[in-house]
């Protein structure tokens, strides 16, 4: 395995683009990443595209708009973890030595409303929506550890504060704790402003290895770890952990081991806050705090901008937006730019080590279908 560095980043402003095709706005993100990398795009060895709703050969359709045709292109689907999965595949292509330059794209043009369930997701036909899945996890945490509705809401306040400083975020507006709590209930205790909005978006990365890594133009950011896992059967009563927490703990440990660092070394992180409680659980599963302490971590300000470990400086899913396949890539675009010191008023000063975490694909029997954790270092 050889080092893989991020030499180019690109992202559109996330938002709603009813009049644009996926191809239109995704091509803009790709173009920016290629320009940022300062490479001849004809040298790109492979393109990997993460998306769930883009339809057949969406990656090729995007590249056609840029006259970048003929290269091997993979379209990968892993629900909300699709972007992290695409990055993992691109990383494999480069670290293996098979390709010197890989283009990784996460993109999605979202349908409105709830994400429809797969036919086999039998719990959905009993009334468990995706927000309800997280609401149930929140309820359990409240009962077990005393997590409060205010602490949950603080995640949204914090992430909207960061999003207000990010010109690429869907919602660039501060919101108050009272507004979060007073917004309409979606699945109790989660209110509307604790659930990610419906957002279109696309983001792109150029990865380089070998000679290409040393000749590219911008400050290189190294991918110190790329870990991808799928959920496994767990019986909470017998195993003492749910499938959803189990995959998060395992994928975090795998990434820390690969990078040779621990949670205490992370300077800035992007975690999967599709719902507020998701961020609280990520703190605990990734070792940012002890089990049960996640609510206090956000309440103490430790994960806000200026805190000990700023989490979701982009605004996160709650404010930046969460176009499924785009998320895992735009998180890493944000973190690469943080490590380069390019993030202006939301810059985490002196950040050297960053962690990105995505999870997706609620599946009864195995919990989350996929989760990816990437650790970046400069």
């Amino acid at each position: 395995m050889r080092d893989v560095v991020i030499v180019g980043t690109g992202t559109i402003r996330f938002g709603r683009y009813p009049d644009l095709l996926l191809e239109d706005f995704a091509a803009d993100a790709v173009n920016e990443a290629i320009t940022d990398a300062g490479i001849d795009p004809g040298r790109i060895g492979i393109g990997v595209f993460g998306h769930s709703q883009g339809g057949r050969v969406a990656g090729q359709r995007v590249l056609r708009e840029l006259a970048l045709t003929g290269m091997p292109v993979l379209n990968v689907e892993n629900a909300c973890a699709g972007g992290g999965t695409a990055l993992h595949v691109g990383w494999m292509a480069v670290t293996s030595g098979l390709h010197d330059l890989a283009l990784v794209v996460g993109m999605e043009k979202m349908a409105r409303g709830l994400i429809p369930a797969n036919p086999g997701e039998y719990e959905a036909f009993l009334g468990k929506t995706l927000p309800a899945k997280y609401a149930l996890r929140a309820r359990k945490h409240m009962d077990t550890y005393g997590l409060t509705v205010e602490q949950l809401a603080m995640v949204s306040v914090k992430n909207h504060h960061a999003g207000a400083l990010n010109p690429l975020a869907h919602y660039q507006k501060e919101i108050s704790l009272e507004e979060v709590l007073a917004s309409r209930p979606v699945a109790e205790p989660l209110t509307l402003l604790q659930c990610c909005p419906t957002t279109d978006g696309a983001a792109a990365l150029v990865l380089a290895g070998g000679q290409a890594a040393t000749t590219a133009g911008r400050t290189p950011v190294r991918i110190a770890a790329s870990a991808l896992l799928s959920g496994r059967y767990r019986n909470l009563a017998k195993d003492g952990i749910s499938s959803d927490d189990d995959i998060a703990v395992r994928v975090g440990q795998a990434a820390y081991e690969m990078a040779g660092v621990g949670p205490e070394d992370i300077d800035v992180a992007e975690v999967h806050d599709a719902f507020t409680v998701g961020e609280i659980l990520a703190y605990e599963n990734l070792g940012f705090c002890a089990r049960g302490e996640g609510g206090r971590l956000v309440a103490d300000g430790a994960t806000g901008l200026g805190g000990r470990l700023p989490v979701n400086p982009s605004g996160g899913r709650l404010s930046l937006g969460h176009p499924l396949g785009a998320t895992g890539v735009v998180q890493v675009v944000e973190l690469a730019r943080q490590l380069r010191g390019e993030c202006g008023p939301r810059q985490v000063q002196g950040a050297k080590t960053a962690l990105a975490h995505v999870v997706g694909g609620s599946t009864p029997g195995i919990g989350s279908g996929a989760s990816a954790v990437h650790i970046l270092m400069r």
Partner: protein
């Protein structure tokens, strides 16, 4: 054994249930003869050890409420707000089901299984599922 009282399998993976002559509802799960795991819905292959030495196991309840939520933005074909939650059966199996009450019972509350209409399917036909309701608390300590 003919099973005329078995519930309809409207959704192939929703999980099967059985209604006895006295009205008692049991869920149709799977017990693994190799590792002892009990699962619901029923499966041919044990999800823990991949053994095919599995047999049907009826799961009776009551369940103890593990967690519950009131869903306001509901799935298609359902009317909100509706309460859903996980109940833990004696066999250590977590089962998700709609709960009859507008307010979720407290964690640990005993839940009985019954069968009722949970919504309508894509043809507008009533959709029958297993459901939970809190076991009435005996008053007076008798």
């Amino acid at each position: 054994m003919s099973d005329a009282a078995a519930g309809p399998t409207i959704r192939p993976r929703i999980g099967r249930w059985h209604v006895a002559a006295d009205g008692a509802v049991t869920l149709v799960g799977t017990h693994c003869r190799d590792c002892g795991e009990t699962t619901f819905p029923d499966r041919r292959i044990c999800p823990r050890c991949r053994s095919e030495a599995t047999e049907e196991r009826r799961l009776a309840g009551p369940a103890r409420l593990h967690s519950a939520t009131v869903v306001h933005q509901v799935e298609r074909g359902m009317a909100g707000p509706m309460t859903v939650g996980y109940g833990e059966l004696e066999e250590g199996v977590l089962v998700l089901a709609p709960i009859d009450h507008d307010e979720p019972p407290e964690a640990g509350t005993l839940l009985d299984l019954h069968v009722g209409i949970t919504g309508v399917d894509e043809n507008g036909e009533p959709m029958t599922t297993y459901r939970f309701r809190a076991r009435p608390v005996r008053r007076g300590g008798a």
